[in-house]
Symmetry: C2
C-alpha cells in the first residue's frame, strides 16, 4: 500500500481517542487524531483542519496592549459599553471599509465574534414570542449551532448551493413567510466554502429581512479577504460588500482574529445598525422589565452579563489596529493575501490529481482564493474522503458537519507552509493512484 | 442647609439621567449620578459605590502578559480547556491556600468569574429536569440574578441574616427538600456584607448539598481577605475556609480581579471538584446528545461556546501570579490588607456619628474589616439613606438591591483615599446634625 498511515494504525488511534466516525468527527477530534498520529510516527500531517491564523499577529495591536498595561488598565473594569477609543475606531473602520455611517455607540466590543453571536442569538430570540427560530444559510460554522443547542433555541437551515442568485428570494420568501424566523445567520466570505454573496444576493437578503422583520447576523470574520477585488484602501471604493447597504435590520460581526491574526486575544466588535440599536421591542421590555430598548438591553442586560466586559488591554489593542488601518498605516488586506496565494497553489495540485472544488462559483464567477475552499473527489462521500485523506496524512473537516448537502471536505490554507506543497503533491499522487 | 449637593440639583440630575428612585438605583445609575454631580460642581464624591480595585494591578501578571505577547500567543486560539500552565498553577494554588487536592484538568479558565457563574448556572439547570431553580444565599451580587433573568432560569433566595449557625440547617432543609434546587450560590467573604461563613456553617452547607444533591457555587472573589486570620502563607495552615472540605458537589470561583487587582483583564478559574468533573448526568446526555460527562460538557459544550476560550496572554498572566503566590514570592493577602485598614478607619468615623454596621457579626464574632461593609442609620430605610448620602456627597448601594431584608447601604472601601477621611468625617458630622 502507498498510504502514509496504515489502516491498522489509524483505526487503533481512533479507538484510543474514542472517535467513532471520521465523517462525523468534530474539529477537536480531527486535531487530536492528526497530532496523535504525528506524535506516534514523527510524520507530519498536512493540517487543513482548523481555521487558525497562520501568520504573525499584528504588532501594532501587541504594542498598544503593552502600553495599555503600562498605563495600568489591568486593574480597571472596562465599561459595559466598551472602551470609547475602540467604539470610535470601530465606527471609523465601518465607514472606511464598508462606507456605512454608524454611531460609535452602536459598535459593541465582544470577547470574539463567538461571544457576539451568542449574545445576538439570545436577544433575537427574545424580541417576539412568535419569532423563536434562527435561520442558518448553510454551509456554516458548527459552533453557532452548538450555541443554540446550549441555549435551547430552535434553528432551521438550508444549503445555499442550489439557491444562489434569484433563487435565493423564493427560498427565503417561503421560509420567512412562516413568521417564526427571528434572525438569519451567514458568513461571507463563507466558512467553510469561501462563497461570497453578490450584491444582488445581498439586496435580496436585505429586502426579505425588512419585509419579514428578521435580523441579519452577518459574520464578516474574513473581512476584505475576497481578493478578487481590492478592498484595501480606506475611504476609497470598492467597499466590502455588506448587508448594511440593503436593510436596517442587521448586526455585523467584525473580528480581529483573522484580519489581524489576533485570534488568541479574543476580540471583535458587534456593529448594530443605528436604527436597530434605537428600536424598542415589547418582548424585551417584558423579559427584562425595562424599556425594551434594543441597544441598551443588548449592551447592559445581555453582553455585559456574559463576561462583564472585554479584556481592557485587548480593546485598546484592537482600537490601535483599526486606527492604523483607517489611517492607511496598516494594510490588513495585503497582510492576509498570503492565504489566497496558498489556496491557488493548493487548488492547482488538487486539480492535477483529479480533485474538484465543490462550491466552485459565485453564480457565474469562479470563487476567490482565500482562507478556505472545498474539495471533492469523484463519487467519494464526505466520510470516505475525510477518512482516506487521514490515511494519506491530510487532515480536513467533513462538509456534512457544516450543514452542506454536498460531498467533500473543507480545506483550510492557513497552516500550509512552503515545504509542504511538494509533500501535498506526492501524497495526492499516491492517493489518486490508489483511488 | 448643610448639604453638599442641594435637593434641587440632585433632583434635576436624576431627571436628566432618568433615575426614578435612588432606592432602586443600579450600580451603573449610582456611578452616573456621582460622576455627573462631580462634573457639574467640581466637588468630589466619596465613592463607596462600585467594587473596583483601588490598588495597582499586580506587576507579575503584567510582565508575564508582555512576554506572552512577544512569544506570539496573540495569533493562537487558546485551547478550549485552557492553557495548561494556568490549569497546573490553579490546581497548585488550590492546594497551597485551600489545602484541597484537585486535578489541573478540573480547573477551567473563564473570562472572569462572571462568565464562570453564567456557564455554571446554565449547566446546573440542565442536569435534571426537576431541578430547575437556583438558590441564592443573600445578600448577593445583582449581576448573578440578572444572568438568570437573561437565561430564563428560576431562582429563589433568602436573607441569611436570621439564619446564621445552626439555624441555617433548618432553613436549607426546608428549601432543599422541595427537590427543585439545582445549585446554591453565595460569596464568602460576602459581597455586600462581608460576612464570612464559619466552619460550622460550611459543614452544614456541605451536608445539605450532598444529601439533596445540589451543587454549591462558591464565589471566592475576596479570597483570603478575611484578615482576622492570616491566610497568606502557601502550603501552611490556616487555610482559607471553603465548601470543598465538606462536600464533593461544588464549583469554586477564584478570580484575579480583587486579589491581584486585575479586574480589567477579565480572568478567573472555575474549579470543579474532581468527583463532580467526572460525574455523568442523564440530563446533559439528552440535552447535548453526548455521554453526559459533567467536566467535558462544561468545558467543550458550555464554556467554550460562550467565548471560544479566554484571552491567551491573560491566561499566562494569571498563571504567573498564581505561581508567584504559591512560590511565596507574591503575598496577595498583604497586598490587599490596605482595604482592611481603610474599612477600620471608615467604620470608626461612621460610629462616631451614630451610624451602625448592619451585618455586624459572624454569629458571635465581629465581622472582619475588608473590601465591603454595611451601614445603617437610626430608623432610616435603604432608600432614604442612599438618597441622603447622595446629598452629602457619598455614593453607596442600597441593600434592598442585594436581596437583603435589612435597612442600610453597602459601603465599598476600595476607592477611599487618604485625603478623603477628613472629608468623610466632616460630611458625616453635617449629616448627623441634620438627622
Amino acid at each position: 500500500m502507498n498510504e502514509i498511515f496504515s489502516r491498522e494504525l489509524v483505526a487503533s488511534v481512533m479507538e484510543e481517542l474514542k472517535i467513532a466516525s471520521l465523517a462525523r468527527a468534530t474539529i477537536g477530534q480531527m486535531l487530536m487524531l492528526a497530532s496523535t498520529l504525528e506524535a506516534k510516527t514523527g510524520i507530519p500531517f498536512i493540517r487543513m483542519d482548523q481555521g487558525v491564523p497562520g501568520l504573525e499577529p499584528c504588532k501594532i495591536g501587541m504594542e498598544a496592549e503593552k502600553i495599555a498595561l503600562d498605563q495600568g488598565v489591568a486593574s480597571k473594569y472596562p465599561a459595559a459599553e466598551g472602551v470609547l477609543e475602540l467604539k470610535e475606531q470601530s465606527a471609523r473602520f465601518v465607514k472606511a471599509f464598508l462606507n456605512i455611517d454608524m454611531a460609535p455607540l452602536s459598535c459593541l466590543p465582544t470577547t470574539g465574534s463567538v461571544s457576539g453571536s451568542f449574545g445576538s442569538f439570545l436577544i433575537c430570540s427574545q424580541l417576539n414570542k412568535k419569532r423563536d427560530t434562527i435561520l442558518f444559510i448553510d454551509p456554516g460554522f458548527p459552533i453557532q449551532k452548538a450555541q443554540l443547542v446550549m441555549l435551547g433555541i430552535k434553528y432551521k437551515s438550508f444549503d445555499v448551493f442550489e439557491y444562489r442568485g434569484e433563487k435565493l428570494k423564493e427560498k427565503l420568501e417561503q421560509l420567512l413567510s412562516e413568521g417564526n424566523i427571528a434572525a438569519i445567520v451567514y458568513s461571507s466570505p463563507n466558512n467553510p466554502t469561501w462563497i461570497t454573496f453578490t450584491e444582488e444576493e445581498l439586496s435580496i437578503l436585505g429586502e426579505m429581512a425588512t419585509k419579514h422583520d428578521a435580523i441579519i447576523l452577518e459574520d464578516l470574520a474574513y473581512f476584505g479577504m475576497d481578493f478578487r477585488a481590492d478592498y484595501s484602501q480606506p475611504f476609497v471604493a470598492p467597499y466590502v460588500p455588506t448587508i448594511a447597504r440593503y436593510t436596517d435590520n442587521y448586526i455585523l460581526f467584525i473580528s480581529g482574529s483573522k484580519i489581524y491574526s489576533y485570534a488568541g486575544q479574543r476580540v471583535a466588535v458587534a456593529c448594530v445598525s443605528d436604527k436597530l440599536y434605537n428600536r424598542t421591542y415589547a418582548g424585551l421590555a417584558s423579559h427584562y422589565s425595562n424599556a425594551g430598548h434594543f441597544g441598551i438591553t443588548f449592551t447592559n442586560a445581555v453582553m455585559y452579563m456574559i463576561t462583564s466586559g472585554v479584556t481592557h488591554s485587548v480593546q485598546l489593542g484592537l482600537a490601535a489596529m483599526f486606527k492604523a488601518s483607517c489611517d492607511g498605516n496598516y494594510n490588513f488586506v495585503d497582510s492576509t493575501k498570503e492565504y489566497g496565494i496558498r489556496a491557488e497553489k493548493m487548488k492547482a495540485i488538487f486539480h492535477k490529481y483529479g480533485f474538484h472544488v465543490v462550491y466552485d462559483k459565485d453564480i457565474d464567477r469562479e470563487i476567490g482564493d482565500g482562507f478556505f475552499f472545498t474539495i471533492g473527489y469523484k463519487e467519494m462521500n464526505c466520510g470516505e474522503l475525510v477518512s482516506e485523506f487521514a490515511h494519506y496524512g491530510i487532515s480536513s473537516i467533513s462538509l456534512s458537519t457544516t450543514g452542506s448537502e454536498r460531498e467533500g471536505v473543507r480545506a483550510c490554507t492557513s497552516r500550509m507552509t512552503d515545504e509542504m506543497f511538494d509533500i501535498l503533491d506526492e501524497r495526492l499522487r499516491l492517493f489518486s493512484e490508489a483511488h
